[in-house]
């Protein structure tokens, strides 16, 4: 610690000079005292735990994002025409440009993850209770900003995914009642997704949100220092607004230790480990995209959101149409309102998870649903596989011993894009059921009706198939049953067949002439 050195004879050694310089600055900025107060303040011994390292790691990642972001901004051009090209140059032409992009991209993923883990930990430990309600509220806003950074960052990549991702954003915005239309124009900066859209997301991603996020981070940490780190929750030690401050004070003085180095060394080690993990991921997996260029006339694309929005992508696929707008408009608002209200509603009482079964279950439910939806979104069973009809053949063994009509049906099944939604032999889309044993589930009549009229998720093919095509297709589908399990039949049909000596030709097929087809 520097003592009062001013009056002592000048020390000519290097160390002496350095101290002198330090003192000269400190006399003017006077930051040492508040810094020491913050660093050396006593914290409960129990908080020097590996469970308490996520907040500081999130702050470290924020710094990483700022540094790498500034470095990328040296090259990146926020112009509709040039952004994608400037990323290509970063990836391929500038030494280690790819690595910086990768660090920024992976840093973003890690930051969202660490922030969420930090929040889950704070929730589990009851740290949002009195007197740290505002710390939690500010933290919730910071989480939203972190997600906002992730979304706006994905836009700046300005590739196909980003372009159509903006389209999805605009479509969701347009569902807001009354102000939907102007809100979309405001979001896009004009009538369509174009250069003006990119520049406003650039301004958000580079100036507005990071500025606010930094300010709130300062406030958040300030409150952590001022209010003290939440003690390890003990079952039965209830928070009471009247006694808590005194109890906490006693705890820190009887069973406490200075924050630095007692607890800080673990933060430091974990932050370093996280930074290393980001660098390793960046080096191994490389940067994110950019995928194809943002040319709206290239429609052969399957846009997908970045990792942390995949769950939403899945939810939007499963919601029934009528529920979708209400869901999109109310669930996020209600969710955020619940998070913000939590510390005011449950500001006292037990902190320990041993005594908060509902909290544990809620967290588990959220985590499991999030994981399930994210997992589903990685293989999108609801999306047609757009090239299955031309890429995935009908398995050969399914065409053995077929009559000509049935083979014709197999060709129709292939050429009419049925495979985009229906799998055979494990290949093809999963939007509709696999057809490997469809004959055991549906009778011939039911097959005809399903093909012609559609139903459920299936479009009606009545207009795009001639009756003879329907017959051939259904004849083929009727062969789709295991050898040891007969096809489903209609009992009344069987009765009719038993009473009719000669087989009757299939009813619908030859009944009417094929209508002139539009195509």
């Amino acid at each position: 610690m520097p003592e009062e050195l001013n009056d002592k004879p000048a020390d000519k050694s290097l160390k002496g000079k350095a101290l002198e310089a330090y003192n000269w600055v400190e006399q003017r900025v006077q930051l040492q005292a508040p810094f020491e107060e913050a660093m050396l303040h006593p914290v409960p011994k129990s908080t020097a735990s590996w469970w308490y390292v996520f907040g500081s790691a999130a702050a470290t990642l924020l710094m990483l994002q700022i540094v790498t972001g500034i470095l990328l901004a040296l090259v990146y051009v926020p112009s509709g025409a040039e952004a994608w090209k400037s990323l290509q140059i970063l990836n391929h032409d500038l030494p280690l440009g790819w690595f910086l992009r990768a660090m920024h991209g992976w840093g973003s993923n890690f930051m969202v993850a660490v922030v969420l883990i930090h929040m889950a930990q704070v929730f589990m430990f009851g740290a949002y209770k009195f007197p740290r309600e505002l710390t939690w509220v500010v933290g919730v806003i910071m989480l939203l900003m972190t997600l906002g950074m992730a979304f706006t960052g994905q836009v700046l990549r300005f590739d196909q995914d980003s372009y159509w991702g903006l389209g999805i954003g605009a479509s969701i915005t347009s569902r807001i009642p009354i102000i939907g239309a102007p809100a979309v124009q405001l979001m896009l900066g004009g009538p369509i997704i174009a250069g003006a859209t990119l520049t406003r997301f650039f301004a958000l991603h580079v100036f507005v949100i990071p500025g606010l996020l930094l300010a709130l981070t300062g406030l958040h940490i300030w409150m952590v220092v001022k209010l003290g780190i939440n003690e390890w929750p003990m079952p039965g030690r209830r928070v009471n607004k009247k006694t808590y401050i005194r109890e906490y004070h006693e705890l820190t003085h009887k069973d406490g230790l200075p924050f630095m180095p007692g607890a800080l060394w673990k933060d430091a080690v974990f932050s370093a480990a996280i930074l290393l993990a980001v660098a390793v991921c960046a080096a191994i997996f490389g940067p994110y995209g950019p995928t194809g260029q943002p040319d709206p006339t290239i429609i052969q694309t399957v846009p997908k959101p970045d990792f942390f929005f995949l769950w939403l992508y899945a939810v939007l696929s499963y919601l029934p149409p009528a529920l979708e707008t209400p869901f999109l408009l109310t669930v996020p608002a209600v969710g955020i309102a619940i998070l913000l209200a939590l510390p005011f509603w449950a500001g006292e009482g037990e902190k320990s998870w041993h005594r908060r079964p509902v909290a544990v279950m809620v967290l588990a439910l959220v985590a499991v649903s999030w994981g399930t939806f994210t997992h589903l979104a990685t293989f999108t069973p609801w999306s047609p596989v757009m090239n299955a009809w031309s890429g995935a053949n009908v398995p050969e063994k399914m065409t053995h011993n077929l009559s000509p009509v049935e083979r014709q049906g197999a060709v129709i099944l292939q050429s009419k894009q049925c495979r985009n939604c229906h799998a055979l032999g494990g290949e093809g889309g999963q939007r509709g059921p696999a057809l490997d044993d469809v004959a055991t589930r549906l009778t011939e009549d039911q097959l005809i009706r399903q093909v012609v009229q559609g139903g459920g998720n299936m479009p009606a093919y009545g207009k795009s198939l001639t009756p003879s095509e329907v017959t051939a297709l259904v004849k083929f589908l009727d062969t789709m049953h295991p050898a040891n399990q007969p096809a489903a039949t209609d009992a009344s049909r069987a009765a009719v067949a038993a009473n009719t000596p000669a087989a009757v030709p299939a009813p619908a097929a030859q009944a009417e002439p094929a209508p002139a087809k539009a195509q």
Binding site: A170, L188, D295, P296, E324, P384, A460, S464
Partner: protein, 216 residues
Amino acid sequence: MTENNHTPDLVEAEHHTVQDDPKVVTRRWILMGIGALLNGVVGIAVAVPVVRYILGPIRKKGAYNSWISLGSATQFPAGETRLATYENPFNRPWDGETAKVACWVRNIDGQKFQVFAVNCAHLGCPVRWFPQSSLFMCPCHGGAYYQDGSRASGPPERGLFEYDYKLVRGELHIDAGQMPTLANPASPNSPGEQSANGGLTVITNAPGGCGSCQKS
């Protein structure tokens, strides 16, 4: 944490203020209030243009729309559906390829057309046309539409967005200009009034609509 452990303050002296006459103090507070008020007034005066600047992109319904030529109608053979592209009339020099827009043109019978936005009516992904099965399919959440743009299945609540069109000296013109979404229809300029457009059926989105009727 101990006091003597810090570098000495340059400004050691205690801060004392002169005890003023309470009247003077009151006056100072009033002047302070005036200062704050002035800033408030100037702030609002400055904020109004700023807000107008920010809200600049918001235009009245149809203000972005205009008639855009897709070129000669002969490019679109009767009975087929083809992808057409055009440059959006409202663009900026730095838009690059994003100024371009694609749409699906269906020539129903050589006389009548239908022009659909590529954007799925669900959440805007680009739908693809499959002539073999006469369906538009969406790659995102599995929406499907019939050849006339009506909803066939999946999450979309309605059929494809459709542009008004007219034929001008053999050229196909469409009323377009903004990304169609549920709140911004493709062509908001009252259809039906263009004579060339008269006979065109507007997509009805009745869920029970007859998807399976055979065309006569």
